[in-house]
Symmetry: C2
Subunit: 344 residues, 2 copies
């Protein structure tokens, strides 16, 4: 579970001692953070800004498998995934609250690893850890993170603002995290069959990193702010492109056309998908955990978004009654569904 040789039992600290130990090195960097850890609640002062808040719960065996997830990566990912929700509102994450349930098989060094990962994410994304709760757990490891962000009122992006003829834009590429997971699951099975076999991960670093240590698209949100671009709607891709398009269509009361050949898929994702007999487009549409941003923009901003770099225009918004479809290169239409896609 970790490479340290020292394993301090949790009982060496009490609850208060453990929190103090884990949080003593935390520095505060945001002006809006008035009081962080150490009272009944954290205190923030946002002035005239709007506050956005999102919470995520991560449970052992459901959201992560400790057989192949280093605890530091787990902490990092738990934080970043939550930040991604805040960027999807066109906001900046500023404060984080962390609640952890820890079962007896973990030691202090394990929990330190989780916090190290969370702190690393906080430093990289300029977020203050301002509160938390640690508890014993009789069952598995549980992480629950809540992140607060801030944004000027006129810049907030909901899922509901897409308009007919808007461009559908996407950051980065899709399907890599899903292939990373498939690879880890495959090697886990091999390993379980023969503990002497070393996992074969050479040349797969990109998809593994996309799954184990994803990043949130702060860079694009910052670039758009600099370029005065405000999306008409935005969502982050946690459950696959198909599902997220459906969310925007439902909440904006519109339809959509996505062009198959415009969906960006990394070459390593293609390579592994062929090797494993998984359709790369299915991984992109339904795989999930990409944490890229999907957003819509008025047609008039086409050149400005192309000049930004790192963003692809993959389709456009249509009237609600036309539905949401994927257009293949031969011109046939495939209906998009939250639970997958099928031919019509």
């Amino acid at each position: 579970m970790n490479t340290n040789t020292k394993r301090t039992p949790l009982s060496d600290f009490g609850e208060f001692g453990l929190i103090e130990h884990l949080t003593k090195s935390i520095k505060i960097t945001n002006k809006s953070t008035q009081k962080a850890i150490g009272d009944d609640a954290a205190v923030m002062n946002y002035g005239a800004k709007c506050v956005v808040a999102s919470t995520d719960i991560l449970l052992e065996g459901i959201h992560f498998d400790l057989t192949y997830t280093p605890l530091k990566h787990l902490g990092y990912k738990a934080a970043v995934v939550n930040f991604s929700d805040i960027y999807a509102m066109n906001a900046q994450p500023v404060q984080l609250l962390v609640a952890v349930g820890i079962s007896a098989r973990f030691c202090v060094e394990d929990i330190e690893q989780i916090y190290e990962g969370i702190k690393l994410a906080c430093e990289k994304y300029n977020v203050d850890m301002v509160g938390g709760d640690t508890s014993a757990s009789l069952t598995g490891l549980t992480l629950s993170l809540t992140v607060l962000g801030e944004v000027d009122r006129e810049k907030i992006c909901y899922r509901s603002g897409a308009k007919v003829n808007d461009l559908i834009c996407l950051t980065g590429n899709l399907g890599a995290a899903y292939m990373g997971l498939q690879l880890l699951e495959r090697e886990k099975k091999v390993f379980e069959g023969n503990a002497n076999v070393q996992p074969q991960f050479d040349g797969y670093d990109y998809v593994l990193q996309r799954f184990l240590k994803p990043e949130a698209r702060k860079d694009i949100v910052d670039l758009m702010a600099d370029a005065d671009i405000i999306p008409s709607s935005m969502i982050d891709i946690s459950d696959g492109l198909s599902s997220e398009i459906m969310h925007i269509c439902k909440q904006s009361n519109c339809g959509a056309r996505i062009y198959l050949e415009r969906i960006p898929i990394a070459s390593q994702t293609f390579k592994i998908s062929e090797e494993m007999g998984i359709d790369a487009v299915t991984a992109a549409l339904n795989g999930g955990e990409d944490y890229e941003l999907l957003f819509t923009l008025p047609l008039s901003l086409r050149d400005r978004i192309k000049d930004l770099g790192g963003v692809d225009v993959i389709g456009h918004i249509t009237e609600a009654q036309t539905g949401a479809y994927l257009i293949t290169p031969d011109g046939s239409e495939v209906i998009l569904q939250a639970q997958g896609w099928r031919h019509v």
Copy 2:
């Protein structure tokens, strides 16, 4: 686990379906709530107010025992306990985010019961449920709640503001929740020995309610606001009076004297403690889960706080080097400790 006969499997809804089902009847009442459930994050607008935030994690087998905890009560208590942290900052809770991990043995009606309890607490305390996350769990039931509150900047009460000679004040009475828990544990053991035996709870309603369905002291916070009383420090009592006094002493760099005969204990608490052979004062000092408010005030406000009603003055703040002691009626001093108390 619940009294409904209908048991809808969780698989009848998907994740999105379940959240929609559980949250469709939720009404928004606070002006600062701009956008609640249904996007990547909730959006709040606090204007010139300070925002306070607190998170709590509740795990099956650690924080609650479903043998004797009705799910609706569990939801109510989970919310109220979190609100209590916000009142302890002299703030008003306004928004709540709820994350739930649900194992397969629960059905939709069970989760409805939990949400019913949370909604009831939100209605009573005028809090908007603005976000959440539901997940499958391979282990037990997990609840993680984060509450946001608001307060004028000049009215915030930290644990760190107590001054020498300040009065130490306490709302309500202590030890009842602890005795309620002891009673439930006793009856559980009897029940496990003989399933035909009905638990004996007659006449114990007060202590049971204090444990199973506690309330937060919004009333006192509101009364103090009306009377222009701002405590110099404040904390809520979740781990017993002794532990909370120590927190104030540590963070305010002061000592304290508490008078044993002034600690308010309800008659039913005394009665049950005698019956069960547990010292009622120990229950008050170290029992926990009372969710009363402990605060300090300048001596000049003595008459105004007495006129308020519902608040007892139980001691005063001293210099740090004098330590924190309980004074017994015969004048002897007992050192206060976070982990209990011992004679010196």
